[in-house]
């Protein structure tokens, strides 16, 4: 298969995504783990652009890499627990983790191979990456998926109240 521009961008990004995920997995310092994860989310956002999903890509950058990761950063700095002593858990835990993780990966790979998913994703067309696609998507969101959308808003409200109730300090209580 000749190396197209698309393929080249995909391979470089795939390498960065996997490497940054590994960096998150093995870094001792919590702050570094967060920064690796932000890098990973940004590369996945570029994947979304390659797949012709500009709205999802921008939400990924603003919601995930922006808001959620800043929240993590705040909590880890607030608690001052960026470094933990090495685990004192079971000694075979580490080996078991790598074996089970490898098994999971092998299983996923096997089913992708067995599924023979031969569909090819063409390079994103100008029409897919334009405002028209966002318009079409939002029409679908507010017609076919209106009920899930409303339920999501209730879920976010409940999460907001829940977070406040959990962290509020009660006067005289153990808080």
């Amino acid at each position: 298969m000749p190396m197209t521009m698309d393929m080249f961008v995909f391979l470089v990004l795939a390498f960065v995504a996997v490497a940054s995920a590994f960096g998150m997995l093995i870094s001792r310092n919590g702050i570094y783990a967060i920064l690796f994860l932000v890098l990973n989310f940004l590369t996945v956002a570029v994947f979304y652009l390659l797949l012709g999903a500009p709205f999802i890509a921008l939400s990924q950058v603003t919601i995930y890499a922006g808001a959620i990761m800043v929240l993590f950063l705040f909590v880890i700095m607030l608690l001052g627990t960026d470094k933990l002593p090495p685990s004192t858990g079971l000694s075979y835990q580490r080996v078991a983790t790598y074996v089970l993780g490898g098994l999971l990966l092998a299983e996923i790979g096997y089913w992708i191979w067995r599924g023979a998913l031969t569909g090819v994703i063409p390079p994103p067309s100008a029409e897919l990456n334009s405002m028209a696609s966002i318009q079409e998507m939002s029409l679908m969101l507010f017609s076919q998926y209106l009920l899930p959308f409303e339920v999501t808003s209730i879920l976010l409200l409940v999460a907001m109240i829940g977070a406040i109730v959990l962290t509020i300090k009660q006067k005289g209580g153990r808080g």
């Binding site: 995909f10 590994f22 998150m24 783990a33 835990q93 090819v120």
Partner: protein, 100 residues
């Protein structure tokens, strides 16, 4: 022209790394981040399939998954802060009783 299975392989690798992070790490915040990584891998597969079938449903599902992840992070981080107040640690090995 990138085959859709390539995207699925990347998604599978990211999911496996996330699962390994949940099993391996004892810092509850890093475990939480690994869960986010797994959700993200699922999202990538959703968008790849949506592109393969030329439909917007997959992208809308990713939108909902993001909203659920945001809610989960808000409540989860609140729980971690509360646990830190009582136990002075976020090490998962020390979270071994239900009564605070």
């Amino acid at each position: 022209m990138v085959p859709v299975s390539y995207y699925l392989v990347v998604s599978g690798i990211l999911f496996s790394i996330g699962a390994m992070g949940v099993l391996l790490r004892r810092n509850s915040l890093v475990v939480f981040m690994s869960i986010e990584l797994m959700l993200n891998a699922g999202n990538l597969a959703f968008v790849a399939f949506a592109r393969m079938h030329n439909t917007f449903s997959g992208q809308l599902f990713v939108f909902f998954v993001m909203a659920v992840a945001a809610a989960e992070v808000a409540v989860g981080l609140a729980l971690i802060v509360t646990i830190f107040r009582t136990k002075n640690s976020i090490n998962l090995d020390q979270m071994n009783n239900l009564k605070g």
